[in-house]
Symmetry: C2
Subunit: 557 residues, 2 copies
Amino acid sequence: MSFNNEIDSVSILPLGGIGEIGKNMMVIEIDDEILIIDAGIKFPTDELYGVDYVIPDISYLLKNRDRIQGIALTHGHMDHIGALPYVLKKLGDVPIYGTKLTLGLLRGKLEEHNLLSDTYLRHVYPGHSVEIGSFDVEFIRVNHSLSDTCALAVHTPSGPIVYASDFKFDQTPVDGQMADIHRLAELGDEGVLALFSDSTNAEHEGFTRSEKEVGETIEKAFKDAEQKIIVASFASNFHRIQQVIDAAMQFNRKIALSGRSMLNNVDIAKDLGYLDIPEGILIDTNDVDKYPSDKVVLLTTGSQGEPMAALTRIARGDHYHISVGDGDTVLVSATAIPGNAKAVGHTINQLFERGADVIYEAITGVHVSGHASQEELKLMLNLTRPQYFFPVHGEYRHLHLHAKLAQEVGVPQENTFIPDLGDKVHLSKDRAYIEDSVRAGRILVDGLGVGDVGNVVLRDRRLLSENGILMVVVTIDNDGNILAGPDIITRGFVYVRESGDLINDATQKAEEALRECEEQGITEWSTLKSNIRDALDDYIYHRTKRNPMILPIIMEV
Amino acid sequence: MSFNNEIDSVSILPLGGIGEIGKNMMVIEIDDEILIIDAGIKFPTDELYGVDYVIPDISYLLKNRDRIQGIALTHGHMDHIGALPYVLKKLGDVPIYGTKLTLGLLRGKLEEHNLLSDTYLRHVYPGHSVEIGSFDVEFIRVNHSLSDTCALAVHTPSGPIVYASDFKFDQTPVDGQMADIHRLAELGDEGVLALFSDSTNAEHEGFTRSEKEVGETIEKAFKDAEQKIIVASFASNFHRIQQVIDAAMQFNRKIALSGRSMLNNVDIAKDLGYLDIPEGILIDTNDVDKYPSDKVVLLTTGSQGEPMAALTRIARGDHYHISVGDGDTVLVSATAIPGNAKAVGHTINQLFERGADVIYEAITGVHVSGHASQEELKLMLNLTRPQYFFPVHGEYRHLHLHAKLAQEVGVPQENTFIPDLGDKVHLSKDRAYIEDSVRAGRILVDGLGVGDVGNVVLRDRRLLSENGILMVVVTIDNDGNILAGPDIITRGFVYVRESGDLINDATQKAEEALRECEEQGITEWSTLKSNIRDALDDYIYHRTKRNPMILPIIMEV
């Protein structure tokens, strides 16, 4: 290791991924050097109307740009790499380190943002280490729903910091590549300073089942299927995709791929050797109809009920050339992420209505999680025997339950930390404490705008979504005489044909309010507007028990 | 029974509750008489922006008003009785039949709508029958999360129609009142013409656990609790509430009730004898602080993360006098209804953050469902041995799985029906077929408006919610000369302070569009508006990758 002074100062600083699932980003500092682990996005919750992504606030990194040595990536899921385009645009060219597949998936994202040629990407094999500035960073293979996922060990003078997010222990992995439990045990013997561990499934008892079990379900479904088979899966779960390919081979079916991310990802994984696709098995989606229905499989996106994804369109009956009907088999090989349950349920309803036999999450074995359950979390703790423990990658209840698990296996409560985002925690063999608190939080991305949507805009979108908008437009002259209007225009409020009286009466109320202002000699626009608003607010609520946004607009000629 | 001609014509007609969970309503016709079973609301899904409730379209009943004999109710949940105020306003005074508690809960709803005095309510004991017109309707006790729930047997010349929604079989019910499996078996021996059965849990294997198990979890939690206890539960689950009261007695704690529906419902159930509340155990919420924290329980609403419910406010820290902190115990004794998972999760996160020990659905035994699982559904089928089977109370996938269960226990596939809403199905011993299809569907209730929000309004609310609105206001004279504007005003689009340039440039684009119209002699408003809209649509999307609603407003002086 390159830091070797006994009084080296070590600290960690989470910028995302604590108290939330998504936008994972951790900062490790030793002396004056900064290492960043992961830079992910979070998908917006419902109350973030119209927001596309949420990314971490990196103000701290911008202020300390010259101390940053590099970014190390655990794996290629969007909640770990998705914010890199935004981060790199702000920070300039910071070198990036990850396994081959992680970087393969990242390349596409960087290309979309014209950042690929300017970014230094260095690939690291699982089981190997790399020097990033003075940091000695070791990549340790773990299992996950994405191949080539690693935990990272950052070696410090006080012992390694192990960052294990995301992971599970699959005792019978599809690709034969077990998590490197031997190395984790060695690190535990050496004396791990701190463990950061994946809390996603801290609510789940027992062990997460092996990906191989899904293979058995797929095989059985293929065996029973008499017509077309459609499999919907996450486009980055290459073990799952490989098992579909294997089943297709076994039952002599061709495979058509559908969905942009499915096509892109399969291309990347095939090129890099993470998928074994026999020659001639892939056919074009346009050619599906040229084969007998019992000779084809469609492998598609849409397992989350996304409105524009292929499976959703097939279920709705508006896919341009794939239909589904009596005798067809659909495997929805995924679980609905919270928030998507209704959309997924709706898609499954529609598929059943079209006569398909749908195998979905109500049926055991059609999906397994990529995250460790309670027994695996305890195993990770027992392997690494950390001095300090930080549950990460979870909402607060997951972190809290994970902290309790740590205490069950012997980590003292006072050595378990759930810092807030922005809390800089000093770590040494003697003690750990919050030494500082820096700016951290979320930045909203909407279209091309990064950070230009905030609470006011969101509040307005919420109000508009609930009861629409009612505009009162009036043109006045210099002296405040009304020249035209007031006219009332509404959107999202009420059927116009149902609202004739209501709008007429409301217009009259606006006129009265204006007349009163005139009589009282009020010409100040803000007062005119607030009088109109007050008069209509009351009136409209009384008549309809609704609260549309009321917006007076005054034009002066 | 009162119909006894061999050629009596029997048909059923679902107006709600098929292909959906909610707004249950079934019509049974024999000869010229109509019987209605249940009249429920459905809570709106996310895409129904701002809608409060969804109710069934009862056009068919309005047209056939004079043939309606009455409405029989299975139980008092809102998805079975909630639409009655709207239905009665349209149909006038139709007599209503239900068990004591069902009518008790209904009374409050009717009172809110000033309908109580004009409505004939007749209470029927479980195990008894009632004549409704010529219909002979038998109320048969079943188990459910609401006391006094019944299945209905409508006796026809071709055998009874059994309508069992909602139900479960609880072998150890809290109140000792088992479902009347003996009577169901007798009807099966007699020869049931058709069974309508609850499909809510058709995805769930095995048996639904007994409510008594929740009592054990509650007792254990009370035993372990060292400080204040807060229990959140559905306000109508009186068995659950009774078990909380019993535990409070056992551990010598006072109970404060919080939440309007909790207070109302407990009052009703106590008055009618469905809750046994020992003298002196209830205290006012305002007095909670007067007792030691290990001597009180707060029983509250908010188990679904509803924004204004007591538990949600306590978790947020803005309840007017109940706080929660280190050492307190919170039982969230419910499961999150799909769509509420995020809100419930958020509340639980906040409770953990405040230091409470939270016992919630990740922990077994804190809640059981009120609906039958697969083995109970098969038991109902085997008890009643129906000639025809209609799975009800479910989305399509639930209905489909339930139909498969029926086939497993021997109902021929051709005797299993999943009609669409509005399909009138003729039933006789010989055959069953769809004889007609009538208008049916959904009516949206928003505030006081019933049916005045439709697809256009919803589409606008969706657009507004995603990217807000951009208004372009311009005042012109008779000849089309611009007198004032164009001015651009936005809401929910972008931070104003971030958008200076954008709005200036967009204003210029609008001016250009208007000038072009002027040069081309275009004065027609619709063309002016569409030119402004086109110019801005492109420009705004190009600059921001967002699509606000663009609304040109022209005032003529």
